[in-house]
């Protein structure tokens, strides 16, 4: 909560600043100490609650050639104004203006720990790039809507500054304004929200609509999954190097690298002969808590067919068994993070000139 007038800094591009259109898109940064262009509408909307103390202006081409570097530049130009709130745009569907607004909002909110709000159309690439780093109010494509959009931006901004707990949420994140009430793009978070109706009431109500062929809205809408082109088959197995990868969570005794029992974002590489020796005491344990580990603890071959693979290598049925095992715990993993882990492991495998992988999963 702020008792005095909210200090606002506004970012706009060369067009909205009145400098010029596309031909002036290479213009660099400039500053004005008053509201400019849509900033005037912004100031009107703020009334006496806030004051636009400065307007940062930059050409769309100039900024978007290096978003990170220019965000840094822009930030250094405005930090002396000590804003309580940062507003950028609105950018609507403008494909360079959007990311520029997003980048400015991100750096200001991260460095100064103040709310930053911009506005874009769903098609704007800035939405995918920055929606999780700042607040992007949803717009249409028509910039004639500026007064309405600015109104929405101010409404959200005041809610962010007020930071009032929402009784339908739980701490520590209970002060987030509802994206459904304030119409901004969700920021890649999932929250449990108290609702008026019970889950059962909602579910049965929606099913009845579905059965009556009336329109209904599913909570979860499936994403488009990429199809990946299958790799070419191995021509000669007796010359191939095969590696084992597992998400069953086999780790050295004591789990020294702390592979978590769920939601793992790390993987590790261990020497198979040390981790899974054919004789002697068990040197491994299982960190995966999504299945009963009992059988795998009895015999690692139930998860990874290491012993037979060792024999095959001796017999020449496979060219080489990669001496290391890549392991992680595939329990409640976040798909984006799993993709990253997969890419990292793949790089290592390529470095080690592995030809094929057998990946086992519990």
């Amino acid at each position: 909560m702020i008792d005095r007038k909210i200090r606002v800094v506004h970012y706009i591009n060369q067009f909205f600043a009145g400098i010029g259109g596309e031909e002036k898109a290479d213009t660099g940064f400039s500053l004005k100490t008053s509201p400019t262009g849509p900033g005037i509408i912004l100031q009107n909307e703020l009334e006496n609650k806030g004051e636009v103390v400065s307007t940062l202006i930059c050409g769309d081409n100039y900024f978007s050639t290096d978003l990170e570097k220019n965000a840094e530049k822009g930030f250094r130009l405005i930090e002396k104004y000590k804003p309580d709130l940062f507003i950028a745009g609105p950018a609507f569907a403008a494909g360079r203006y959007g990311p520029s607004c997003g980048a400015m909002c991100r750096i200001v909110s991260e460095r100064l720990k103040i709310p930053a709000v911009t506005a874009m159309n769903v098609e704007n690439p800035g939405v995918e790039m920055y929606s999780q780093h700042t607040y992007i109010v949803r717009t249409g494509v028509n910039s004639k809507d500026i007064p309405d959009i600015v109104r929405k931006m101010v409404k959200l901004s005041l809610a962010l500054i007020e930071n009032k707990p929402d009784p339908n949420l739980v701490p520590p994140d209970d002060c987030i304004p509802s994206p459904y009430e304030y119409d901004y793009f969700t920021r890649n978070l999932i929250r449990n929200v108290f609702t008026k109706e019970s889950t059962a009431e909602a579910s049965v109500g929606l099913l009845i609509k579905k059965l009556k062929n009336e329109p209904f809205k599913s909570d979860v809408v499936k994403p488009p999954f990429d199809k990946i082109k299958p790799a070419n088959p191995i021509e000669d197995m007796s010359k191939a190097k095969i590696a084992f990868v597992t998400d069953g969570g086999i780790v050295p005794m004591g789990n020294p690298d702390g592979i978590p029992s769920r939601m793992s974002t790390i993987w590790k590489e261990y020497v198979i002969d040390d981790l899974l020796p054919m004789e002697g005491e068990r040197q491994y344990e299982v960190s995966h808590r999504g299945y009963n580990n009992f059988e795998v603890l009895e015999d690692y071959n139930r998860l990874i067919p290491v012993d037979h693979a060792r024999t095959f290598e001796k017999q020449g049925r496979i060219g080489k068994l990669n001496p290391t095992l890549f392991t992680t715990c595939g329990n409640v993993s976040i798909i984006k993070k799993s993709k990253i882990m997969g890419e990292e492991i793949a790089h290592k495998l390529l470095e080690q000139k592995v030809d094929a992988v057998i990946l086992t999963s519990a």
Partner: protein
């Protein structure tokens, strides 16, 4: 089958020298109850306490079951197969006490278990659960040396059920505040309402690979359900004590007695919006061929026997369970039965769709009940902690994803571990939403 539940609203549960009931209050002799419960030789010691509804000082940890006090007045056995003899539940008359619950805790921290639930009667977490403002009969104890972890829970759970019956019987002189009638004939000839959609409920009740103790739960009439093919139950059975809580902590006995989806389907049925045409319970098989058979068989029961137009499906916990319920939902859709599939996301970041283990165009109505691992901050200067030591963790000690022990006044915990906050069966007013 017709079930009449007579609800008696209790004002206070009070510990006293003798058992009696007066003016909406129940007075209970702890010693008399203890002696009664210790008839079970497997119980070595019992801690029984009354914590009344005004209390806002207590944290209950290691909660293994919560039971609403109920007893049969006519037409059945008390918790058949658990306490009473086997008899079909869901008929006759049952007394049910409002504002009282039996809370059963396990004293040990729990070796190898992954879920231990807790709840508070005060502090900032109290509003998250309906259990916080009830009168509580607390039960915890030690069992004989040779009893396994899971059997220990079952023994205490049974004691809790006996205590629940004891309390309900004690209220016989108190006035009935309301009556609920659950009257449903699954026989198709009796449900000839034209034009009303016939909706059934598929209830996934068990998945053995989550049962960490290697001794399976016995949630249905006190029997194991491991590898049990899909089976038709009358919804009244579940409401009337045929189903208990499970080791896996997917649901409590209370959650079955007050089953959110079953009660909602009944409401719509009484309201003549639908015909509630039955319940199919199923389990996750550990064998792929049998899983295939179970999927087909569930589809058959739903389509050909219950003659459903629609089905709501719930599942609990993780990926394999999700896969199973999704396959059954797809089978239903193929047979022309429209579905609403309940899932529970796990993460607090990402999109809801990231949590889908199985995707199919047929599954166009998916409900996100709640997300498991949303971090929750709870502040409570509790005076008493019951059910276990303050060093207990909500998750098995080695997992340590809840990074503060349950005894912390400032507790950082995840949504799943708060008893009564999250419910797979649809009762709570909670949804997972993208934010």
């Amino acid at each position: 089958m017709k079930l009449e539940i007579q609800n008696v609203a209790i004002d206070y549960l009070i510990s006293a020298e003798n058992d009696y009931a007066e003016k909406d209050n129940l007075f209970i002799s702890i010693n008399a109850l203890k002696n009664n419960l210790m008839d079970d030789r497997r119980i070595v010691s019992l801690d029984v306490r009354v914590i009344d509804k005004d209390n806002d000082d207590t944290r209950f940890v290691n909660v293994i079951d919560i039971i609403q006090p109920r007893c049969k007045l006519k037409g059945g056995q008390n918790f058949p197969g658990f306490v009473g003899d086997i008899e079909t539940a869901g008929k006759g008359i049952t007394r049910s006490l409002d504002n009282v619950i039996v809370v059963v805790c396990s004293a040990s921290i729990g070796k190898g278990r992954t879920v231990q639930k807790f709840f508070d009667t005060g502090g900032s977490g109290a509003r998250l659960t309906e259990f916080s403002n009830k009168n509580i009969l607390y039960l915890c104890g030690e069992t004989a040396e040779d009893i396994s972890e899971n059997e220990h829970e079952d023994v205490l759970r049974t004691a809790g059920m006996k205590a629940a019956v004891y309390l309900a019987e004690l209220a016989k002189s108190l006035k009935v505040s309301s009556t609920d009638i659950y009257d449903l004939d699954l026989n198709i000839k009796c449900n000839s309402d034209e034009g009303l959609p016939r909706i059934c409920y598929y209830y996934q009740v068990y998945a053995p690979h989550y049962d960490y103790g290697n001794i399976p739960s016995k949630p249905l009439y006190g029997q194991t359900v491991t590898e049990m093919p899909p089976t038709i139950l009358h919804p009244n059975e579940i409401l009337d004590g045929a189903m208990s809580g499970v080791h896996i902590q997917a649901y409590y006995t209370y959650d079955n007695q007050n089953h959110g989806l079953i009660k909602e389907l009944y409401k719509r049925h009484i309201n003549k919006e639908i015909v509630f045409c039955g319940v199919v319970v199923g389990v996750l098989s550990m064998n792929e061929m049998r899983r295939g058979f179970f999927v087909k068989h569930a589809g058959k029961l739903i389509k050909d026997v219950l003659n459903a137009d629609g089905a709501v499906l719930t599942k609990f916990h993780g990926g394999a369970a999700h896969l199973d319920s999704a396959l059954i939902a797809i089978e239903c859709e193929k047979l022309g039965v429209g579905t609403s599939l309940h899932i529970t996301p796990f993460t607090d970041v990402g999109k809801l769709a990231d949590n889908l283990v199985y995707i199919d165009d047929e599954l166009d109505l998916i409900i996100a009940g709640f997300t498991y691992f949303e971090p929750v901050d709870i502040r409570f200067k509790y005076k008493n902690i019951l059910g276990g030591p303050p060093e207990s963790f909500a998750s098995s000690p080695r997992a340590k994803h809840c990074n503060t022990p349950l005894g912390s006044e400032h507790l950082k915990i995840e949504a799943l571990f708060i008893a009564g906050y999250t419910d797979f069966l649809g009762r709570t007013n909670l949804r997972a939403m993208e934010y």
